[in-house]
Amino acid sequence: MTDQSHLFIQSNAISTDQKKSKRTFHWGRLPDNTTGWLLSLPLAFVLFFFLVLPIAMIVVVSFWGATEFSIYPAFQFENYEFLLTSPVTYQVFWNTIKYALVTWVLTLGIGFTVAYFLAFHVRSLTWQVVLFLLCTIPFWTSNIIRMISWIPFLGRNGIANSTLISMGVIDEPLEWLLFSDFSVILAFVHLYTLFMVVPIFNTMMRIDKSLIEAASDNGASGFQTLTNVIIPLTKPGIMIGSIFVITLVMGDFITVRFMSGSQKANVGRLISNDISLLQYPSAAATAVILLITVLLVISVLLRFVDIRKEL
């Protein structure tokens, strides 16, 4: 027995020796550092050409000058000056932030509830998957179609109004249903709630079910479990969903245009108007300010939660 184990150790030692000598005589191998840099190159290229370069272009153009019919390279602060001194800008930015805030609150409320139901009340995995897919079905058609389909529903003589009248709830059609802040936010919530559901559901599915039992073993009521265990553990998902929704709403222009019947404005519409008037430098300046605003909002959000755990 002892003899054998001795032999075994010896043969082992020989084989590691051989491995070592092999490594020193291997010429074709690059240092680990170089391999790492090379591997990161493709992504770096993609990010440079499709993210850094366009943003740099926008920043550069935002300092250019423009006449009614031409734009010319320059380095002047006219665009920013005009933008930041106009009361319209502040109004429109405020409107954008208002849309983002209200939509965020509503999508968070609905999204959290749906995700909570899917993750904790639906017991079987099959049903979880089925119901989850059901949530995604609206995404099989385009945004625009989903938006426009609200119009006949909410219109003056639309389904909503005629139903309410026939039920005797109201006497005359509600004017604020369509082409109002209400319809804009309704469309936003409809379009973007899923972006809240998915990350929250994903985080919730990772919560160990025995934690819920442990909470009840420690005397927590359902509501206490929600506030002391589930919400804190779902925070990263809530943050990711919030970033999705806030950036989507703040960057949107088509929803506001369609659902407000061009009666309301947000920053996206400001930019799109500038572009349609070929005022690229002014559009670029607005875009830069919008980008800074969104980044500020997100950095404030990130101060609260570390989402790296989630990635």
């Binding site: 025995s210 039992e213 442990a214 009840s216 073993d217 420690n218 927590a220 002391n228 265990v229 553990l233």
Partner: protein, 330 residues
Amino acid sequence: MANSQDLELAATTKKYGGTVAVDSINHKFAAGTYSCLLGPSGCGKSSTLRMIAGHESVSDGDIVLGGTNITDLPPAKRGTAMMFQNYALFPHLSVVDNVSFSQKMRGINKTKRSEKALKLLELVDMGDYADRLPSQLSGGQQQRVALARALITEPSVLLLDEPLSALDPFLRIKMRLELKKLQRELGISFIHVTHSQDEALALADDIIVMNNGRIEQAGNPQSVFNTPTTEFVARFIGGHNVLQRDGTLVALRADRLQVLKAAPSEDNHLTASVVDVEYLGSTVNLALDAGSAGDLTASLSDQAFFLDPIEIGATVSLAWKPEDAHQIAA
């Protein structure tokens, strides 16, 4: 904390749809004892524990703790506390917040509850780790925290769901000793679910062997190990041979089997060939093929074996004292 009370299961049954997981079991867990529910996976031991804890509804029958019927009470109102298999520590809370969680739920102020939590952490030697997060602790440390969290509710019965299965073998033996010591010091009942017979024999005052949702045998470790009453217990508890003798089944401890090179004069003997020899340190196990009597194991002390070694392939005679063979039910 030594307000331990008897816990009694009366025809307690658990059904999942059509399948019966726990089939009308009756057992009395005496106050202040260490009991082990022992059995293979799927035998109903975990369901039983979870019913006692209140995390699983009872389909039929009752659970009575110290004269109170706790069958339908919520987990925290029963006087039981559970330590979960994976410890189920709240990952976002520090050790001290984990332990004081139940106090927080009851609305006790922070200084008071932290003070109490620290006391319990001292009890399990974790006082220095109060501000760490669970992910910064080793498995054994997490288990101590989980223990402290369960004990802070001052339960009269502590329920442990396979508490040692996530630990490595050395730590398992260490924690085993600590669990037993803690139980002795606190004087409350521990009910411990395990599939390891070693663990049950080492820890328990009372072993309950379960199979197919029923209790096969219950009793103190010596009686379960020395006189198994059924074939299942004899095989599951290990260290036994089950033999067919004169139309009945008998259980015979492997270390009571005498291995002889020459046939003895008594009639209590079998002939077998040695299939394998396993050296286990203080004992040597022989795997034997006894023909129609089946595969047997004989456990010899290393001293006896090396005094007169037996080769693989040798033919030997097996003998035993009549009083060592216990009749068992199939």
